[in-house]
Symmetry: C2
Subunit: 218 residues, 2 copies
């Protein structure tokens, strides 16, 4: 039995097309952002007409909302797939790594934009809000856990950690490094992870022990 189950061929085709539409939407959102993405862009990219597009999604808001819900599902799935053996910080790091790779491949892991306008629009989408709350609470739990174990700085309010974490998933430094520094993807990922957890300040401190040796901590 196929993944489509008992659906008719017509329904299968419908679902396939809908996925194609959502893929196109995600790609355009990643490159141009919400405000500059037009319904014509989406329709043209997959070779259908605008009215056909509106048969699938009743508005631009609906289309983008659905695409964003799918992105959140991907992120949640990714989080669940992580081996239980990983510690809280390792899980956060792995998810951030995944998000960075998605972006470096021209995709979009979470938010299409940090604009207040788009945020308000998405907040009117109940399905989206529900998924955001769920993912957010999972991540918050990981942050608290990592702070308790000392892997993440326990002196920082957990909000500061969590919001900074989100910010790194859409950090513009990624695009700058890709575009202007022509750096390899692997290097960008590695450096972004390092900056997220250790900052740009000095990586190690030298302290004087009683016998005046230099001891490096890391």
């Amino acid at each position: 039995m196929s993944i489509f189950g008992k659906l008719s061929f017509k329904d299968q085709a419908f679902i396939l097309r809908e996925n194609a539409i959502l893929d196109a939407t995600t790609g355009i959102l990643a490159s141009k952002g919400f405000d500059l993405m037009t319904m014509d862009d989406v329709a043209n990219m997959i070779g259908i007409s605008k009215p056909s597009l509106y048969k699938h999604f009743k508005s631009k808001e609906d289309l983008v909302g659905t695409a964003m819900v799918r992105l959140l599902d991907n992120a949640s799935a990714k989080l669940e797939q992580l081996p239980e053996s990983l510690g809280a910080k390792a899980k956060l790091s792995a998810l951030l790594e995944w998000a960075l790779r998605v972006r470096l491949d021209g995709g979009l892991p979470f938010l299409p934009s940090t604009s207040a306008h788009v945020r308000e629009m998405l907040m009117r989408n109940l399905k989206y809000v529900g998924k955001v709350i769920k993912l957010n609470s999972q991540l918050e739990k990981l942050v608290l856990q990592a702070q308790k174990s000392g892997e993440i700085n326990p002196d920082l309010p957990s909000d500061v950690v969590l919001y900074s974490y989100y910010a790194r998933t859409c950090d513009p430094a990624v695009e700058y490094l890709q575009r202007f520094s022509k750096m390899e993807k692997e290097d960008i990922v590695r450096y972004m992870l390092e900056v997220c957890f250790d900052g740009v300040g000095k990586p190690q401190q030298q302290i004087m022990t009683a016998n005046n040796d230099h001891v490096r901590t890391r």
Copy 2:
């Protein structure tokens, strides 16, 4: 003699109005971003008509470009004002602190958006590009200096440090903390600076010395 020098009253009024227009533009850019800002917004905010606005600036692109040039001038001036006695990292930190405060007060320190569209538009503005290059080279010099002295992690490529630094000046975490956590401005500034330089990872390492004492480094 006033700051206007020998300008006629008419020219003085002209300059005052122009500054009012640029102030309004900056505020709207900070809140709605470039794409959603309309020329009507700007004209209405200062109580003039749209054609009058176009007498001062020949296009939206021109208006925003001029506003951005003024912002860059502010940033450069701020950088020059810093006491010579400060080290390179302290200067970077002070400028970031200033940028964060500007944003927390509803203003805009540098970029109005990270959108490729706006970036390309600004790159067509020669005056803007010139100022960006100048400020950028000053900041790059500070980064290299701080890396040489070990205040900033010398193992990171300077590009990574510099772009991450820019990213922190427009970090969305600031808005999240202000909006959702209702955190005090002072606290937001302090935490954002800490996260920038030290990351969200553990702030200190405990190492074992020969006699098994715990020594804290910071």
